[in-house]
């Protein structure tokens, strides 16, 4: 088990952020307000999450685990909608279906087949693993949606030219589709490449700190990274299929305009 951190030690940790305040003020960086809000939010959100997790771990019902997974999904959709400034019909549904579809399938594979945890709904496993997978499929979907709609706009003339020559909507938007898919998966691929050299991933660090044998922690980390890329790819593909079908109407015309 990890060493306990007492209140005094916690206060020392917080003093590190005081140092940032002092440095920012001395250099007139004007980030104190943002920094204070961020620190406060971080503290409150994490404490709330901790309390909630403790409660959920203790009762450990199958439906509390599922409920939390769905809550995370809704929150993820909300975050993406807020971040994207797009007026696309049914965007909320599209995002929810693609994120839920991509991540739930992978979470199920991970819990049932890779870890084989009994019972399957054990919150101690489902929630953190689900969180990581949903978080990554959220980022991938946000990138894919943004890039695809952007490409559809900038390539509008090319797309219409293809259509005017007899292309169907899939043929006309194939470059936009590929570009968006690539862009959405690139960050995950890049972080996979640097892993172990550039940085030690958070989950592995956490496991090692809490006393897990490093090679076991590595095996978990490898499995989770594979799950993350799988979920990101699946969600992003679903997302692009649904977006493409929404952005073209029944006459295979581009519907979206800024």
């Amino acid at each position: 088990m990890a060493e306990n951190i007492g209140l005094a030690q916690m206060a020392i940790a917080y003093s590190l952020i005081l140092l940032v305040f002092v440095l920012a003020t001395a250099n007139r960086l004007k980030i104190n307000r943002d920094l204070a809000i961020a620190a406060l939010r971080m503290t409150l959100q994490l404490v709330a999450a901790g309390i909630l997790l403790r409660y959920v771990f203790r009762i450990n019902y199958w439906y509390t685990s599922l409920l939390l997974l769905f809550a995370m999904l809704f929150f993820a959709v909300h975050v993406v909608i807020g971040r994207l400034d797009l007026k696309i019909p049914r965007l909320t549904t599209i995002l929810f279906v693609s994120m839920a579809g991509g991540s739930l399938v992978v979470i199920a594979v991970f819990i049932f087949l890779v870890v084989g945890r009994q019972p399957w709904y054990d919150a101690q496993y489902v929630i953190p693993i689900g969180g990581m997978i949903i978080g990554n499929s959220m980022t991938a979907c946000a990138l894919a949606s943004e890039r695809f709609t952007n490409e559809m706009m900038t390539r509008r003339q090319l797309i219409e030219t293809s259509l005017a020559l007899g292309a169907n909507f899939k043929e006309a938007s194939v470059d936009a589709f590929r570009g968006a898919y690539r862009a959405a998966l690139l960050p995950t691929i890049a972080s996979m490449t640097g892993m172990g050299i550039v940085h030690l991933p958070g989950m592995m660090t956490g496991q090692i700190l809490s006393g897990v044998e490093p090679l076991l922690a590595v095996k978990y980390q490898i499995a989770i990274i594979l799950a993350i890329i799988g979920a990101a790819a699946l969600s992003c593909l679903l997302n692009l299929y649904l977006l493409r079908n929404t952005l073209f109407d029944r006459c295979h015309q581009v519907m979206y305009s800024s």
Partner: protein, 251 residues
């Protein structure tokens, strides 16, 4: 239905390829076309003329289903055009835009891309057709491997025409196909249209008198309304119309 009526219906389909019935089209803040009715007969050449903003491009886009009418009907071979699978219709009724849009890549790649579309796969056009079309338009073989970014405006316009022909259209809709051309390449394009007008249906938006002389019918558009259809080509009336319209615009 009596036999005679049936016959007349069939005949009707054969003679008019495309038809607009009381078509209105609303733009973002104004009416672009108001109650336009028009029949385009097979194997004929139609010229659409009118000042800029008269609705020529919109009319062509409607015929290619790139725009849907706000009200009224567009018919292809006597049937509501929207009942066709759009790619199939567009592989028969091909639109050539005024601004030639090139796909990134070489000239040859541009010509071969439309052939890869599912709706064009049975057209059996290949690189030898591409070479032939380019040659006919005065573009040499050395151009084939050239990147399109290095083409002049006139060359692009001709490559776009050759690319449209790769699809072997039954109807070619062309928006100002000679607008960016020097006199020599204009000759090539004009004689291409002269050949095409004998083989397929051509609808061309243009003010070119040389294209006018080839046309079987002229449609005069002004302010989104069909002003007149000239059956016999009346150059004097044509010039007069354009002159009055220009004056209206200036005034």
């Amino acid at each position: 239905m009596s036999n005679m009526e049936q016959h007349s219906v069939v005949h009707d389909h054969e003679s008019s390829v495309l038809e607009l019935r009381d078509v209105c089209l609303d733009g973002i803040d104004k009416r672009v076309l108001s109650s336009v009715s028009l029949r385009i007969d097979a194997q004929k050449m139609f010229l659409i003329a009118g000042p800029s903003g008269a609705g020529k491009t919109s009319l062509l886009r409607l015929l290619n289903l790139l725009t849907l009418p706000t009200s009224g009907e567009v018919l292809y071979r006597g049937v509501d055009a929207c009942t066709y699978d759009p790619p199939v219709l567009r592989s028969e009724v091909v639109m050539l835009t005024q601004e030639p849009v090139m796909f990134p890549g070489t000239v040859m790649e541009n010509l071969m891309i439309p052939v890869t579309y599912a709706s064009n796969r049975d057209k059996r056009t290949d690189t030898s057709d591409a070479e032939r079309f380019l040659a006919e338009l005065g573009l040499g073989r050395e151009l084939m491997k050239q990147d399109v970014s290095r083409l002049s405006g006139g060359e692009k316009q001709r490559v776009a025409l050759a690319r449209a022909l790769m699809v072997r259209p039954k109807v070619l809709l062309a928006d100002e196909p000679t607008s960016a051309l020097d006199p020599v390449s204009e000759d090539k394009v004009i004689s291409m249209f002269s050949r095409l007008s004998d083989e397929i249906t051509v609808v061309v938006a243009s003010h070119s008198l040389r294209l006018l002389r080839m046309a079987d019918r002229v449609i005069l558009l002004s302010n989104g309304e069909l002003v007149e259809t000239l059956d016999t080509i009346d150059e004097i009336r044509f010039r007069e119309f354009l002159h009055i319209e220009e004056k209206k615009k200036d005034g």
